[in-house]
Amino acid sequence: MSAAGPVIPSFGRGSACVTGDHAFCWGWVRDHWGDTLEPHLVQHVELTLVAVSAGFAIAFSLALLAHRLPAIEHPIAIAAALVYTVPSLVAFQILVAFSGLSNATVEIPLTGYSLVILYPNVVAGLRAAPAEVLEAARAMGLRRRQILWRVELPLAVPAIIGGLRVAVVSTVAIGTVASLVGDRGLGYPILYALRLPTPFRTEIYAAGALVVVLALGFDLVLVGARRALVRWAR
């Protein structure tokens, strides 16, 4: 067993900017992009994509079902509204009691919120086809399923993309709350920096900027997608 004490190396003093608590330290951002900012950014992107994809898949299925059976549209809408009344922090904590600190705890509420935003949009989109066009399609002898795929869905694209834009931006924002139940996403660097003996502004501003940029980035991608899809539909 070692008798002497340990060697305590110098860990590299933080730059004057960091220890002096200046407003923003580019040096720190450069040095810690790889070990702090980028991993959390990737986690946040993943978080968002999984929740919105799953939410979209479920919303789409439910909307198609409601399109066929109008009777269930209202009950589904009410159920959706109920989900929406649960604040995000509360939802995450309730899920912690269910599934501990796993991906499911974070993804289930986020999927729920996406679903709730997307469902009305898909339903509204499916209704967007003007009556005359539907008449014409039926007159041409198209069956119900063909009308759905060839007429109603393409016309629903703008509403669906509109819904996706809202859902994605919301999810990016709500995803930051998820960091209160685990080290996941861009909310975590913000929380961590807030808890230090002196709140570390650079980390807060850097992570915050990434969140805003991420939301805007997704939004632009979707706007581009809508343009492309609408052009195809012509």
């Binding site: 604040p87 009691a97 599934s99 796993s102 924002a173 913000i190 915050g208």
Partner: protein
């Protein structure tokens, strides 16, 4: 089945029921926290209203700034509350003020959008008829546009109020107090405490919603009560 077990291994009906037990045992403490939360929310709502309502009404009256209203609602959705709280804390220091400002920013979105849309959406013929009768712009605003815009406008206030009350727990990370103090302090209060406080937050939000709805009904002049303008405001409710 193994996958489901992995996901739901902590599922315990006991913990959920224990949450209710916590509420019963610590009713006084939780009530005190709830009042704290309402104080913070009320202040934030007031400040937000003071900023958003005059601006929204003015823009709607002039039929300008539709983009501003849309931008306000988009920003309201996109700005994470945690970020707002953190940024205000670095600027204003710890305390009531910084949390109030962060929540006020969240409150302005729905109120600005709805105020603008409500006044903007009053039927042109009615406005023109009133002008034709010789009313000044201000009289038209006060006696015609505002009463007709009231339902949608109030809905905006109601949505903002519930948004603020539901988001206030997050302010606990910056010393905001309220039920959030329990929810973010799972280490101290354990899961049942956190769940108990969660139930209280949901009850509080529902209570605020119903109270404001009742107030709105009571204040709406009888002839306008049949107008049900509920749809537009609800979809814009934020959760962050």
């Amino acid at each position: 089945m193994g996958a489901l077990r992995v996901v739901f291994d902590s599922a315990d009906a006991g913990t959920f029921l224990a949450g209710f037990g916590f509420v019963v045992h610590h009713a006084g403490f939780l009530a005190h926290k709830a009042v704290e939360q309402l104080e913070l929310s009320g202040a934030a709502l007031g400040v937000g209203a003071a900023a958003a309502l005059p601006l929204g009404v003015a823009l709607g009256h002039l039929h300008r700034g539709a983009n501003v209203a849309i931008a306000a609602s988009i920003l309201g959705r996109a700005l994470p509350s945690i970020l707002l709280i953190a940024v205000f804390l670095t600027v204003l220091g710890v305390g009531f003020l910084d949390n109030m400002c962060a929540l006020a920013v969240l409150a302005t979105g729905p109120m600005l959008t709805n105020a603008h849309d409500a006044v903007d959406g009053v039927e042109r013929e009615v406005v023109e008829a009133a002008r034709g009768m010789g009313m000044s712009r201000l009289q038209v605003l006060a006696r015609v546009e505002l009463p007709l815009a009231a339902p949608l406008l109030f809905t905006g206030i109601r949505v903002a109020a519930v948004t603020v009350v539901a988001t206030a727990p997050i302010a606990a990370i910056a010393g905001g107090g309220g039920l959030g103090d329990v929810i973010v302090n799972q280490a101290s209060y354990r899961l049942q405490g956190v769940l108990g406080a969660c139930y209280c937050v949901m009850a509080l939000s529902a209570g605020v919603w119903l109270a404001l709805l009742g107030l709105q009904r009571a204040l709406t002049p009888r002839p306008l009560r049949s107008r049900r303008v509920l749809g537009a405001g609800d979809e814009r409710r934020e959760l962050t």
